[in-house]
Symmetry: C2
Subunit: 319 residues, 2 copies
C-alpha cells in the first residue's frame, strides 16, 4: 500500500482498531482506503500519524479525511497529522468531512497549529441526519449516512465508479472500427458501419470488473435503517465494541455487539464483514478471536481488524 | 517504575524523545518523574497515553503535568490523556502548568472531551519571562524559568526537599534522649540535658542522602541565562535537536546542537546530561549514537534518551 505499488485494486489499511481506552495493538480508530493514486482516511484517532509511519504509509496522496464523530478516539489525531503535513510542506488542499462541530474543530486546529495552511485545510460540515452524496470525482463517490450513537455520528459508503469497458482490439480490427471511435466504445456506444449495419457494443468490447465498494459504520448501536444504504458492498466495517454477552453494555452506550454486526452484514448482503473498535476488555489476540468466532457463526465471511491489517478488494472477491 | 515498587530514589522515564516529526522509537515529547508515591509529567505530546500503557506506567498517581510550550509535539497528547483519565473515573485533581495559552487550551479540552471533570482539571498559567517557584509540597519544589524558543517556552527544575536527619538510636539511648524529642532531632535541633549540657545534633543523628534534582530544558536555543537556575542538578535533560554540524539550522529554528547542550551542562556543573528531542533526520540508533559521541567528547557523563528509557537517580550517583 505504499505510494509506488498500487494497481487496479482497492485497498483498506487499518491504522487503529481500538475504542476509547487504547491498548497495545488496538490504537484509536483510523483507516486508509486507497484507490489508484488517491488515499482517503476515515477517522483519525490519537497517534494516527505515528501509525501511518509505522505501517509504511504516507500522506503524500491524502486529500480527504472523513470523520465519523467528534469523540476523542476518532478525531484527536487530526491536529498532529495536519500540523505534520503542514510542516512537511503541504502542496495540495486537504478536505475534512464530519458532523456538526467539525468546522469549529478544524478552525481551532488551523489557528493553533498550522495557520500558514489555513487556505489549504478545508472543513466540510455534513448534516448527520440524512443520506447524501458528499464527494464525487472521476473514480469515486462517497455517501454519508446517519449512524446511531450518543453524539451526531456519520457512516460513509465509498463506491468506485463503473470503469470504462475494455476494447477488444481483434474484434475492432475485424469490423474495421477507427481508433478515434474507441473512446465512445469504452463508454458503451454501439458502432454503425457505412452500410448502416450496427455492431453492438458487446461484440467489440469486454466488460470491466465490477466496481469496488466499502462501508464504514462506527460508532453505532444496532441500527437496521443503515442496511438499505450499505446494501451489497464488497466490504463492511462494522464496529463490535462488545461480545454477544454484553448486550446490556452495548445498549447502554449505543455501541454494537458481535451479533449486531453479523445481523447487519446478513441483511445488507455484503461480500465480507470486518469487525473492530474493540472495548479495552478484549486486549489479547485470543479474546479478539472469540469475538470473531461469534461473528462467524452467523456470518462466515468475516475478518477481525488488527492494527496494520491490509485488505485487497480484488483478493476478497476470490475468497 | 510501576506504582507498587517505588523506593527512596527518584526516577525519570522517557515516554517520547522525538521532535516535530515523530519516528518509530522517537515519539513526541513526554517524560515522567517519580518521587515516592507521586508522578509528575513533563510535556505531553501526541500518543503519550499509549506510551504510558506501553511502558507499564499508570496515571493513578499523576496529579501534575508541566507543559513547556504549546507546540503540537509537546501538548497534543493532553486531550486524549485527560479524556481517558476522565473516562476511567478521575478521583483526584489534575493540575496543568504551562505558558500563556494553557488556560484556553485546557478549557477547550475540558469543554469538548471531559466536561464532567471540569472542576478536577485545573490549568495554571505561568509567566514565561521570569524564574519562579510554581509548586511546592512536603517533598518537592518546582521552579519554572524562561527558555528561548519561537513561542513562550518554560523550563522546569524539580528539587526534592532536604530529607529529615536519621536518628542514631544507639547514641540517643546513650545520652538518654526521650523518644518524644526525636522529631526535633530529625529537623536538626540540638538536645539540652537536665544539667544544661548541650548534645549537638550531629552526635545523635546521621545525615540523610542529599536531595535529588532534575531540570528539563526543551525546546530552547543555546541560552546561557538558564545556567544559574539549573546549577548543580543531578540530571539535566537538554534538547539536542541537531548535531554539531547543523549550527545554522539550530540558530534559525531556535533549537540546540549537541555542542550547545554539552556547554550548558559544563557551565551548570550538572551530575549527568540526558539528550533528546532529536530531529527526524536522526532516525536510527546509529545516528543517535553519533549525537551522543559529540556530546560525550565535551561532557562525558551523558546519556541519549530513547522511548522507554528509565533513569534511577540513586544509581546515577554511583556512576
Amino acid at each position: 500500500m505504499n505510494d509506488a505499488n498500487y494497481g487496479d485494486s482497492m485497498y483498506l489499511k487499518v491504522l487503529g482498531c481500538g475504542s476509547a481506552l487504547p491498548k497495545p495493538g488496538h490504537q484509536h480508530s483510523s483507516q486508509l482506503l486507497r484507490l489508484r493514486d488517491k488515499v482517503y482516511m476515515i477517522d483519525c484517532g490519537e497517534g494516527t500519524q505515528m501509525q501511518l509511519l509505522r505501517f509504511g504509509g504516507s500522506w503524500a496522496n491524502l486529500h480527504r479525511i472523513f470523520i465519523t464523530h467528534l469523540h476523542g478516539d476518532h478525531c484527536l489525531g487530526l491536529p498532529g497529522l495536519l500540523s505534520s503535513m503542514s510542516m512537511s510542506g503541504l502542496d495540495h488542499p486537504v478536505h475534512i468531512y464530519g458532523p456538526e462541530g467539525i468546522e469549529a474543530y478544524v478552525h481551532f486546529i488551523v489557528e493553533t497549529f498550522c495557520r500558514d495552511d489555513a487556505e489549504r485545510i478545508i472543513p466540510h460540515q455534513i448534516d448527520h441526519r440524512q443520506v447524501q452524496r458528499v464527494y464525487e470525482d472521476h473514480s469515486l463517490v462517497v455517501t454519508a449516512f446517519p449512524l446511531k450513537h450518543r453524539v451526531p455520528c456519520i457512516g460513509y459508503r465509498f463506491d468506485e465508479k463503473p470503469k470504462p469497458r475494455h476494447i477488444d482490439r481483434e474484434m475492432c480490427d475485424f469490423y474495421q472500427i477507427p481508433i478515434a471511435y474507441f473512446g465512445l466504445l469504452k463508454q458503451g456506444a454501439d458502432f454503425q458501419q457505412e452500410d448502416g449495419t450496427v455492431i453492438p457494443n458487446h461484440k467489440v468490447t469486454k466488460s470491466p470488473r465490477a466496481p469496488f465498494s466499502f462501508a464504514y459504520c462506527s460508532d453505532t448501536a444496532y441500527y437496521p435503517p443503515i442496511v438499505e444504504t450499505i446494501k451489497g458492498v464488497d466490504l463492511l466495517y462494522h464496529e463490535t465494541t462488545f461480545g454477544a454477552d454484553k448486550m446490556d453494555r452495548a445498549v447502554a452506550t449505543l455501541h454494537s455487539t458481535t451479533t449486531d454486526a453479523a445481523h447487519i452484514a446478513q441483511q445488507a448482503e455484503v461480500g465480507h464483514l470486518l469487525i473492530g473498535h474493540y472495548s479495552a476488555r478484549y486486549a489479547t489476540p485470543e479474546l479478539v478471536e472469540e469475538l470473531l468466532s461469534e461473528v462467524k457463526s452467523l456470518f462466515p465471511r468475516s475478518f477481525a481488524a488488527e492494527d496494520g491489517l491490509t485488505l485487497d478488494f480484488q483478493k476478497l472477491r476470490t475468497l
